[in-house]
Amino acid sequence: MHHEEVFTNRNVTESSAYYYVDIESYPTTGWDKFKQVVRRTFSGELFIGLWVVMREMIKFDIHTVQYPKEKLPLGPRYRAVHKLLRLWESGYERCIGCGLCEKICISDCIRMDTRIDENSRKEVTEYSINLGRCIFCGYCAEVCPELAIVHGPRYENASEQRAHFVIKDDMLTPLDLLKAGAQEEYPGFGAIIPGSDDAVKKTPLAY
């Protein structure tokens, strides 16, 4: 059964810039269809397009980025392959193994192994992301209470297989980089909003 949707013209007022596109009616007879094909095939538009290409080519003024020789600068909030950060002072891994990233991930591509370590702390023994499934939505970084999992700028992750994993070692800031002060904080999803301190109501302390 054919069902015609009734529009209420919610966004279309007299003054708005919306207008109905004038769509010519479909040809019905065989002869009309033939005429339409001939008209479209031999119209001059094809040659206009060819001319534009030709004109730009002989100008030798190319605007295309010469990837991979050349790369565009990325915004700091760009969401590519993840990184796991460390605490600045102690060098400990920030990730506490809460599993929130694993839970929130809409592609279900994060997995982690945890255990209790010698100091009675929760230790993340392994952490993996299947980049073949990740949609780089940023939810993991946003939910992380420790600013541990963040996105980095590495977007080159072509692989031979659909499934393609990064593990903890690939993502964790190496200690020498940390010592060299080269770990970068991520200002994107999940980062602390400027002025958060003032917005928080403090818990009273008895001492």
């Binding site: 599993g99 209790i116 009675s120 230790e123 392994e126 209470p145 109501k201």
Partner: protein, 828 residues
């Protein structure tokens, strides 16, 4: 009890007179916040969050009883203020550890904090240093503890170990300013919380039967399983509803599974959970979950060999750790191939039941553990209750503590756990082989003599004699004395001496000769001195009587007589009778299979040794799935046919494949569920139609209950007298398992010990000069084993026991069926 009508928040509901408001609300789907209350245990009033207004008065819903016509409001401005303050107090200094806490996601503190809407904190106090404590299987983090005392309550009212109590927290007092400003109940709650912490009774180490129920009921992450800690988040698990495979209690559990690790996607059981408001687990059920037959693949040669072995065999020997469906397959194979089915433990129980039927006229006993929970006088005969069926012990303890009950425990081995359940429980430590005398005593004490067969009444009266004893009595005696005292003469104002006669009563002891009835059975059973008086005290105002009988009777040389006596007790006393089946599915096997006594020439063993062995323990000629890898049903002590599901994958052959090779043609084992014998009380219900849950009111909706069918009786109620000379008074040994163990399956679990030895009470170790780990030779008239001595702090006295869970000991070979045997033990 009377049906009454009450109104909660405008909703009219029906409940029983005397029911707590909270329970009435819960049964009717009305939410009242409550933290410290545990169904089936006594209210402790630790949290006070369950405040409601009943007929205009503020009461605690968990301990205020509903009265007819009561009008209840679950919220008023004052109650909301109290609740908000209570939750704020709970959050004071509570570590922000949700990210790693094992309870995260199923934490009642999180839930109520959000429910009540705490978004800022008003209160504060200086924190104290509270280091974490390792209690073996359990881990205690006092910083997370909110002092709801649920752990103490469940251990006392349900489990019966009473192994936990409160100790001083050593905190500063709460600032006076708060006392004046904060809501009253919240302050009272805080004041109590601020004074205490939880500690094991024995000091630093937890000395108990390790049921882990305290950690199950803990609303926060303060008490958690040491093994589970930090391995998973609650929400990662798939919960597989199942029935515990270890003992006949058939507890409802859920196997919580998840992939093993990133590298290994195979599912693994991480923990067992239970609906602790309605069912309490023992440690074997909670910690003994990984008994699966791992990494099994199909070897067609092994299967062909199995089929060939079946063709050759004349006997299948098996244990009762199988499902009802498997039992039915075995029975069908028996019919098809003319095999014998040998399972002596189930046969003993089957015979006991049928002997019992000859008098009772019923296929099954009348009672179940629910009746024990509800009773106020509980008796246990012929069972090492604590380890034969932990839930039977919980039921007895629960009855003693919740119904102001009292109880008798008849067993040769002194059990401090049972004796310490209540001050109103007495153990009668009779000699082995005197069980019949115990049953006669029951008839003598509780039987309706006017209805009982006259021969029996006569026999019983033969134990009574009249004895003259001298008793000391205190009598009141009036004495008149003349006293002189000084009295002020009002007229003259001078003191004068006045003599006066005073009569007073003084207590005086006199000896008197009285005639008393003496019951020789007491002496024969070594009843403690003054037992008659104890019993009179115990029996005062008692209404509901429950008797549990156990495997010592089924394997007794005069088991038939015992069974008939049990039937007479059920018929002529007010006791409900519950029989404790030996293993997980002993009752099911006894109902489904026609069992034979002796093996033939070529035996197929199923989970027991045979000429060709099928084994779920991974040690046989053909692998079989264990009970956490199978779906099917198990029949419990409550005569309930409970479904269990597949928690872990299994890649090998199952019994049904063998049956199919012999033309039984059934795709799935569970197709047999609907064909379980209806003439034995089973129902023709499909496996997938079997429910497995509890309702909010605590009603058990699991599988179905076997129908207790009538059988014809001859009217012959004669029983044989017992022979007191058969009592074994020399050194004996018992066949039983230690706490946490039931079978070779529990022994496979990584958290439980895998090997056993000779279990000896601490004091007996000392008197014999043994120490833990000493090698001994244990010798009976049937055989001998060399093993090591292991101290068992949960028994007392001189009787040692050998376990069955460690099959390398082959303990059964030392016994002649009966669980006691005369023994000599030598240190080697």
């Amino acid at each position: 009890m009377n049906e009454i009508t009450i109104t909660i928040d405008g909703k009219v509901i029906q409940t029983q007179e005397g029911e707590y408001i909270l329970n009435a609300a819960r049964a009717n789907g009305i939410f009242i916040p409550a933290i410290c209350y545990l169904s089936r245990c006594s209210p402790t009033l630790a949290c006070r969050i369950c405040l409601v207004e009943a007929d205009g008065k503020q009461v605690y819903a968990c301990n205020a009883k509903a009265k007819n016509g009561m009008e209840i409001k679950t919220t008023t401005p004052n109650i909301l203020a109290e609740r908000r303050a209570i939750m704020e107090v709970y959050d004071v200094n509570h570590p922000l550890e949700c990210g790693v806490c094992d309870q995260s996601g199923e934490c009642e503190l999180q839930n109520y904090t959000l429910e009540v809407g705490v978004d800022s904190q008003t209160y504060s106090i200086k924190d104290t240093h509270k280091p974490v404590q390792d209690w073996g299987l359990i881990h205690y983090d006092p910083s997370l503890c909110i002092m709801c005392e649920r752990c103490i309550t469940v251990c006392e009212d349900m489990i019966g170990d009473a192994a936990l109590s409160t100790v001083a927290r050593g905190s500063d007092p709460i600032e006076a300013e708060f006392k004046e400003t904060m809501p009253k109940d919240a302050y009272a709650m805080w004041n109590k919380l601020n004074k205490s912490l939880i500690a094991p009774n024995g000091g630093d180490t937890l000395d108990c039967t390790n049921c882990g129920e305290c950690s199950a009921v803990c609303p926060v992450g303060a008490l958690v399983s040491s093994d589970y800690q930090y391995t998973s988040n609650a929400w990662e698990h798939q919960q597989i509803p199942a029935t515990c495979a270890h003992c006949s209690a058939g507890c409802q559990i859920s196997y919580d599974i998840k992939h093993t690790s990133i590298a290994n996607p195979e599912p693994k059981i991480y923990r067992v959970k239970n609906e602790w408001n309605y069912v309490s687990l023992c440690g074997a059920g909670r910690y003994g979950y990984d008994f699966e037959n791992r990494d099994v693949v199909k070897h067609p040669e092994a299967f062909d060999a199995a089929v060939a072995a079946f063709q050759k065999a004349d006997t299948i020997a098996f244990t009762s750790t199988i499902t009802n469906e498997e039992a039915l397959i075995l029975q069908k194979l028996k019919e098809k191939l003319g095999l014998r089915l040998v399972n002596n433990e189930a046969l003993a129980f089957k015979n006991f039941l049928s002997d019992y039927s000859t008098i009772s006229g019923k296929t099954l006993y009348s009672g179940d553990l629910k009746q024990v929970h509800d009773a106020d006088f509980v008796v246990s005969i012929g069972s090492a209750l604590k380890t034969d069926n932990p839930n039977a012990r919980f039921a007895m303890n629960n009855a003693l503590s919740m119904n102001k009950g009292s109880g008798l425990y008849f067993h040769p081995i002194s059990d401090p756990v049972i004796c310490n359940m209540s001050k109103n429980v007495t153990q009668i430590q009779h000699s082995p082989m005197m069980e019949e005398a115990v049953l006669y005593l029951m008839l003598d004490l509780f039987g309706d003599k006017s209805a009982m067969p006259s021969a029996l009444v006569e026999y019983l009266s033969s134990f009574h004699s009249v004895k003259t004893v001298t008793v000391e009595e205190t009598v009141d005696e009036k004495v008149t004395e003349t006293v002189t005292k000084m009295v002020l003469n009002e007229e003259s104002g001078v003191e004068e001496e006045v003599t006066e006669e005073v009569t007073k009563t003084v207590k005086k002891k006199v000896s008197k000769e009285v005639e008393v009835d003496e019951n020789a059975l007491f002496g024969l059973l070594n009843a403690p001195a003054g037992f008659v008086d104890t019993l009179t005290k115990y029996l005062a105002k008692k209404e509901k009587f429950a008797l549990m009988v156990g495997p010592d009777l089924y394997t007794h040389p005069n088991a038939t007589n015992c069974a008939r006596l049990v039937a007479l007790i059920e018929k002529y006393t007010q006791f409900s009778v519950t029989m404790i089946p030996n293993l997980a599915n002993t009752l099911g096997v006894a109902m489904i299979c026609d069992l034979d006594g002796e093996r033939g020439n070529y035996t197929i063993g199923y989970n027991t040794a045979g000429d060709f062995t099928l084994s779920a323990l991974g040690d046989g000629d053909l692998d079989m799935p264990s009970l956490n890898q199978q779906e099917g049903t198990l029949t419990s002590i409550d005569k309930r046919v409970n479904p269990t599901n597949v928690a872990l994958p299994y890649g090998g052959y199952v019994l049904n494949d063998i049956a199919n090779a012999f033309g039984l043609n059934t795709t799935l084992t569970v197709e047999y569920t609907a064909h379980l014998p209806v003439d034995k009380g089973f129902k023709a219900v499909d496996f997938d139609a079997l429910p497995n849950h509890y309702t909010n009111s605590g009603e058990e909706v699991r599988g179905y209950v076997l129908e207790n069918l009538s059988v014809s009786v001859t009217g012959d109620e004669s029983v044989e007298p017992f022979d007191a000379s058969k009592a074994i008074n020399e050194k004996v040994i018992y066949l039983a398992n230690p706490v946490l163990q039931f079978s070779a399956f529990t022994a496979r679990a990584h958290q439980l010990p895998s090997s056993g030895g000779l279990y000896v009470a601490q004091t007996a170790m000392e008197t014999n000069g043994w120490s833990e780990g000493d090698c001994v030779r244990v010798k009976t008239s049937h055989g001998e084993v060399n093993t090591i001595v292991i101290a068992d702090g949960k028994i007392e006295g001189d009787i040692a026991y050998l376990p069955t869970f460690d099959t390398t000991l082959n303990s059964e070979s030392l016994f002649d069926g009966y669980r006691f045997a005369a023994v000599s033990i030598q240190k080697v």
